[in-house]
Structure formats: C-alpha cells, structure tokens
C-alpha cells in the first residue's frame, strides 16, 4: 500500500534498473523491446494509454502484427501468447508493462 511506496522510493533507486521479470524473447528482440518500453513510458509518464499505444504500434511495425500491451500499476492477467514473444517488465518503481504477441 502506501507504506510500501514510501519505503520503496527511499531505499532503492528503481529508475536505473529495468530488469525483465519474465520474458522468453530472444536476446536482440528483448533488448530492443525493453528500450522501446522505457522510452514510451518516459515519454508518456502521465498517460498509460498513449504509452501503450506507442509501444503497440512500434512492435507491430517491427515484429509483425497483433501485439498487445498493458501498462499499469495494479492488475492481474492471464494471457495466451506466441512462444518467444512475451515480455513482462517493471518500470520506474511502480509501473508494470506486459507486452505479448498473439494473432
């Protein structure tokens, strides 16, 4: 809750670490996607929708159609994704980004 968030900002410097929590992408793809997510989230820090939109459109162009992007602070999900096309990472200490491909 709130306590957690306070602690978090004091002890850790989350803004510099962007490890993927779960991913099965190949190395190149993963690096590119992570960079893209970071860029998008930084750009649209206030608007999750536009960040997600940017990510989805870029992924569609680069890696093929039907990518899905969810950005948020609190959600649960169960998805079916194409193998080797999933990235689930955290950003900026409080945002979770889930990117997957499924036509």
């Amino acid at each position: 809750g709130a306590d957690d968030t306070e602690e978090k900002t004091q002890t850790i410097d989350p803004k510099h670490i962007f490890p993927p929590q779960h991913t099965d992408m190949p190395e190149e793809m993963r690096v590119e996607t992570m960079e893209l997510c970071v860029t998008a989230c930084e750009k649209f820090a206030t608007n999750n929708e536009s960040a997600a939109k940017m990510i989805k459109e870029s992924m569609d162009k680069k890696f093929g159609s039907s990518w899905h992007v969810v950005i948020g602070e609190g959600f649960g999900f169960e998805i079916t994704h194409e193998v080797k096309n999933l990235l689930y990472m955290f950003f900026g200490g409080g945002l979770a980004v889930c990117v997957w491909k499924c036509s």
């Binding site: 978090k8 989350p14 099965d24 959600f75 999900f77 194409e82 193998v83 999933l86 955290f90 997957w100």
Partner: protein, 653 residues
C-alpha cells in the same frame, strides 16, 4: 415571351441574376407572366436580402465610389412588364383605309438569349433514323439495346452472304476441372502466461534484483575466467601429446639407444677419446693400431665392403657400400651409414638392386651421396629424404655405363649451379653426370685408350677397364685414372680427346690412385702386383716403391700429414707409412681382422685419429692410430712440401 424582371429594391452592387430558360417555351399571355411576376415579387422582398447576404461581396474595380449618404439613399426603381426597348409608336400602312395607322399592340417580348436545341423526339422519323445510325456504330461496343435487335438482324443477313470467302469455326480446349485446395500452416506455438502486477510485487522484485547484481559483481572478478582458461589449456596440451607421442618416442628411443651403446662400449669410447698408447715411446718409430668398434649389419653378412667414405660435415658418420667383388657372385647391394655413436646398428640403410661398387659423399652438401653400382647404374641418394629410393637414378637414361662403375667423384657445381659428379667404369668411359631437376644428364668426358696389345679389329669391343679415379685437390681439372692393365693415365677435363700423360704403373690391376692432399705433384698408386708406388707427376718413374707381399687393395693419404699414408692388403693387414720418419719401411704392419678375411678399403677420418677398414665379410673395423703414427710435422704445409721434395731427392740419389 418576356423574361421576368424583379420589382423591388436592389442594391446596385450585386451582379445581376439571370434566370435563363433554355427551353423554347411557348409564349404565354402577359397575364400569366404578370402572375408569375407577382409571386416572384413577394418571394423576393421577403427573402431577397437574406439570400443576397449569403453571397460574398465582390467589388469591381470600376465601381463608383459613393459616399455613405449617397449609398444609403434609396433609389426607387419600378419594374414593368413592358419592354423599354420595344418601339412604342410603330406605325403601319393599312391598305384598307389607305393611311398609316399606329399599332397599339406591340410585341413586348425581348429575347435576351436564344439557343437552338438538337433534341429529336424518339417516335419521329428523324429520331428513328438517328437511332438506327447509332445502333450501327455501337455494334462493336457490345452494349445491347432492345431497339437494336432488329438492326442487328439486318446486319447478320448481310454477313451470311459472304459464306464463300469466310468460314466460322469454333472449338473448345479441355478445361481442367477446378479443384479446391486449402492449406493451413502450423500456427506459431502459443503459451499461457499469468501474473499480477501490484505495487508490492514490483517492490519485491526490485529488491531481489539488487541483491543478485551485487553478488554477480563479486563473482566476476577473475575467478571464473581463470578456471576456464586453465581448462582450455589442459585440453590443448593433452591433444598435442597424443599426436606427437610416437614421433617424440622415436627421438627419445634414439637417444636411449645411444646411451645404451655407450654404456656397452664404454671402454671403447674411452679409448677412442683418451687412450694414447704409452708404449709408443719405447717402440721407437713404430706405432700400433688400436682396434675400436666393429660395425656390422646382419643382413649384410653375405656382402663384402666395396666402398667407404667419411662424411665431411658430420665427422662421426661414414658410408659403407656393400656388394661383391667377384664376378660370379653378384646379388643385391646395400648402402649403409654408420655413426661412431651407435656401433650396433646403421643409421641409414638403403638397398640397391645390384652391388655397390663405389660411393662418394658431396663435400659441402653432406646429404647427397653418389653411388656407382655393379650393373653400371649410378644413383644419387638424398639422406634428408625419408624414402628408401635414390632421388636420381641413371637406370633409364641412355648414357648408362655398360659395365660396373668403379669410381664416382663429386665435382664442384657447374655454371648453372647444378651438382655433378664423374664416374669411371669398366667400359672404359669417363662420364660426367649432372643433376638437372629430376634427372641425370650425362656428358661423356673421355674414353680410356685401348692398349696396344689388343688387335685392331677388337679395339672397339674390348674396353679398357678403368678401376680408379681421383681428382687433384687444388687443380680441379686434372685427374688420374688407373686401369686394369696397370697403366695410370693423367687427364684434364679440358681435353676430351687425349690423355696428357701415361704412366706404366703396375703389372696388374691398379686398385687405387690418389693425389697427395698437400703436395701438388705427388700421387700414390697401388695394385694387385703387391706394390705401392709414389709418383711425382713430372716424372715417368715412381719416386717410392713399396712391396707389401700380397695384393694391395687400397691406399689412403692421411689428412694431417703429407708424408703419412696407409695401405691394406688381402692378407688382412694394415700398413702405415710415414715417409718423413722412415722411407723404406712401414711404421706399422698390423693384422686387424681374422684369418682369411680380406681387407678391401681403408679411409682416414678427417678429424679424429682413426681409420676404418672394410673387409669381405661386410664388417667395418675402426682402429685408432697410436701417437707414433700420428706425428704431425711441426712445420707448415708448404714447408712440408719442400721437406717432401728433399726426401724425394735423397731417395733418388
């Protein structure tokens, strides 16, 4: 008739609105028009201004500039149905009354615009005609009109009349039956994934990540890398040793073999290096020969030694040629190389098809060995190569000797830097062989002169057997050839037709001729007539003569002194002479082999004070010269020569 004009206030700025009717309407009564006008009026006044306001105002450039007051001034215009341009006082002559009468009723219609249309009614004649024409034009277009059917029928009738020139024919190819095929690629594999994205999950994850990173930083410092390097190195070394095992083993085995031999022949080795016969002091002039190693090879038991040669570069290596001297007992031959370091087994073994009669090792390139065989072939072996075969062989070439090759000698490289050697054989020819790339090229140098006792008609058939050959040490072109008849011929490479000199040396076969290595004019010869003779080339008769009681098979000058030489005889004895000390007797006459073994060859080692002798059992015995035999003159070689000359003169006198 008349175009309706609008009655009402109009602003002068507006462009006049023209209502033009294109149809030629039938003229109606004025009243009708008036009605229309009234209607239009009502409409216009109500809506006119609004309708006009919708339009954008365009000011023409030649418009009058009026002041505001003037603009606001209302100008009233009255619109009438009457044509202002129509004449109002038209007068016509009336024939009835005979005078001009004014016409009241004037035509009020003013035609502003007239356009003649070109529409024709379908049903009319003209219309039908036009339609027929159009149908003809449209025939190619394919648009069917129900009206045109009749027309087309007329056209077909026209075509049929041409049946004689034209023929219509149609056929249909086989159309494959259409088949539906559908395919579905395997869809990319899918997987399910589920997770929850909460703040606390994110927090936990970050904490974990930090911890992981700190740990990995510690680990990265060198440890892992070192381990990996070591592993890879170990693998490399193992692989190498496996490959080189056998070859390394060979080298090691060789060293061990030599060590073992040294241990076995330890006393001999000690003698070779250090033993100096102390008893020589008491013997006066005489010396002894100390037997050292004996070299023998199992497979060479049946062969006798026919040639010996020391290697100039490696002073412990010498070559032994094995064959047979007997005409009747000819078999294979061998070329062996022994080293003093390993007396029990030869270093190199070459088998030859026929007996080796002579061999020579190149002075500078100590791996080149020229061999002369009993069947007349000459071959060159390269010790560097691992093969068993000679690198050059004169088998196939046409210049081959027809009889046994008695002596081969390497020469200096010719002008093209090709190696060459000269051979003398029992067919009486001296041939020079040049090693050109992959073959031996022969050049005949000279033919030995036939002796007088042979009748003329047989001179070409019976050759003079050359038995020995030696080249002058300093004057390379001058050489000596010994013959079977006991003559020695001196020749020069530059004269190919004749010999320069002939010496009646021996009564029988001349077995060896050798120039003195120091004195330019002296040479030694030996033969089966028990004699050893020393000559000065300027004199016809020998300077020294020694009789050795049995056939002398070989003689050699010592490399360290111009007055020392040694000879071997068929009774197994070695005779060593030093002319400086004793001109009449040998300093040493020693039997070195067992009974009934004939000695055939002797050679001095260029460096060490030992000699090797070859016998007819295929054995080579090495002997060390005792100090008395090795007395080097304490003066330089030139003085040596003078010394020799002096001794010569003394002897002559």
């Amino acid at each position: 008739m008349s175009v309706s004009h609008k009655v009402g206030t109009m602003k002068s700025k507006q462009a006049p609105n023209v209502n033009s009717h294109q149809k030629a309407a039938v003229a109606k009564g004025v009243k009708a028009i008036g009605k229309k006008k009234d209607e239009e009026e009502g409409l216009d006044t109500a809506e006119g201004e609004e309708w006009m306001q919708g339009k954008t105002l365009v000011k023409p450039p030649d418009q009058l500039d009026l002041t505001e007051a003037e603009l606001n001034e209302e100008i009233t215009r009255v619109l009438k149905a009457s044509n202002p341009n129509a004449p109002q006082n038209v007068v016509r002559y009336s024939f009835k009354e005979g005078c001009y009468k004014p016409i009241v009723f004037v035509d009020q219609m003013a035609i502003h615009f007239e356009l003649e249309g070109n529409l024709v009614h379908k049903e009319s004649d003209e219309g039908r005609r036009l339609m027929a024409k159009q149908a003809e034009v449209d025939d190619g277009g394919g648009v069917e009109r129900p009206d045109n059917v009749a027309i087309k029928a007329a056209k077909r009738e026209q075509k049929l009349t041409n049946q004689f020139n034209f023929n219509e024919r149609a056929s249909q190819t086989l159309n494959n039956t259409p088949r539906d095929i559908s395919c579905q690629t395997e869809p990319p594999p899918r997987a399910n994934f589920s997770a929850t994205a909460n703040q606390w999950e994110i927090y936990d994850f970050y904490v974990e990540e930090l911890q992981r990173r700190e740990k990995s930083k510690e680990k990265h410092e060198g440890q892992f890398l070192n381990k990996e390097e070591d592993k890879s190195k170990k693998k490399m070394i193992q692989a190498e040793t496996q490959n080189d095992d056998i070859s390394q083993l060979a080298k090691v085995v060789k060293i061990i073999e030599r060590m073992v031999n040294q241990n076995i022949f330890d006393d001999v080795a000690q003698d070779f290096m250090y033993f100096e016969d102390a008893s020589d002091e008491f013997r006066g002039e005489k010396g002894t020969l100390l037997p050292l190693w004996t070299f023998q090879y199992d497979k060479a038991k049946s062969l006798s030694v026919t040639a010996l040669c020391w290697n100039h570069k490696y002073n412990d290596l010498f070559a032994v040629g094995l064959g047979s001297h007997e005409f009747t007992q000819q078999g294979g031959g061998m070329l062996l190389f022994y080293t003093l370091k390993n007396p029990s087994y030869p270093e190199f073994i070459f088998n030859t098809a026929s007996g080796v009669m002579c061999l020579d090792i190149h002075e500078h390139l100590s791996y080149l060995v020229a061999v002369g065989l009993y069947d007349g072939c000459v071959a060159v072996y390269n010790l560097k190569k691992k093969t068993d075969q000679p690198i050059y062989n004169s088998r196939a070439s046409s210049g081959k000797h027809t009889s046994a090759v008695m002596q081969v000698k390497w020469q200096k490289d010719d002008l093209d830097s090709n190696h060459n050697f000269i051979s003398v054989s029992a067919d009486g020819r001296l041939v020079s062989w040049t090693l050109v790339k992959h073959e031996l090229v022969f050049t005949e140098i000279i033919k030995l002169p036939v002796i007088d006792t042979i009748p003329d008609d047989l001179k070409d058939v019976i050759p003079t057997v050359g038995t020995s050959l030696d080249f002058h040490k300093q004057k390379d072109y001058s050489f000596l050839v010994g013959t079977e008849h006991g003559k020695i011929h001196k020749g020069s490479k530059y004269y190919s037709s004749k010999f320069l000199e002939k010496y009646d040396a021996h009564f029988m076969n001349v077995t060896r001729v050798k120039w003195n290595p120091f004195h330019p004019d002296v040479f030694i010869s030996c033969g089966w007539d028990w004699m050893v003779k020393i000559w000065d080339q300027t004199m016809k008769s020998p300077v020294f003569t020694f009789e050795l009681k049995t056939s002398v098979t070989d003689v050699a000058w010592a490399p360290y002194s111009s007055t020392v030489f040694a000879a071997v005889t068929t009774d197994g004895k070695v005779h060593v002479f030093d002319l400086n000390i004793n001109k009449y007797e040998a300093l040493c006459q020693q039997k070195v082999v067992s009974k009934k073994t004939k000695l055939f060859n002797i050679e001095f080692n260029p460096v060490h004070p030992i000699i090797i002798v070859g016998d007819d059992r295929g054995h080579v015995t090495s002997l060390k010269l005792s100090p008395n035999l090795r007395k080097k003159p304490k003066v330089e070689s030139e003085v040596l020569n003078v010394h020799f000359q002096m001794s010569l003169h003394i002897s002559l006198v």
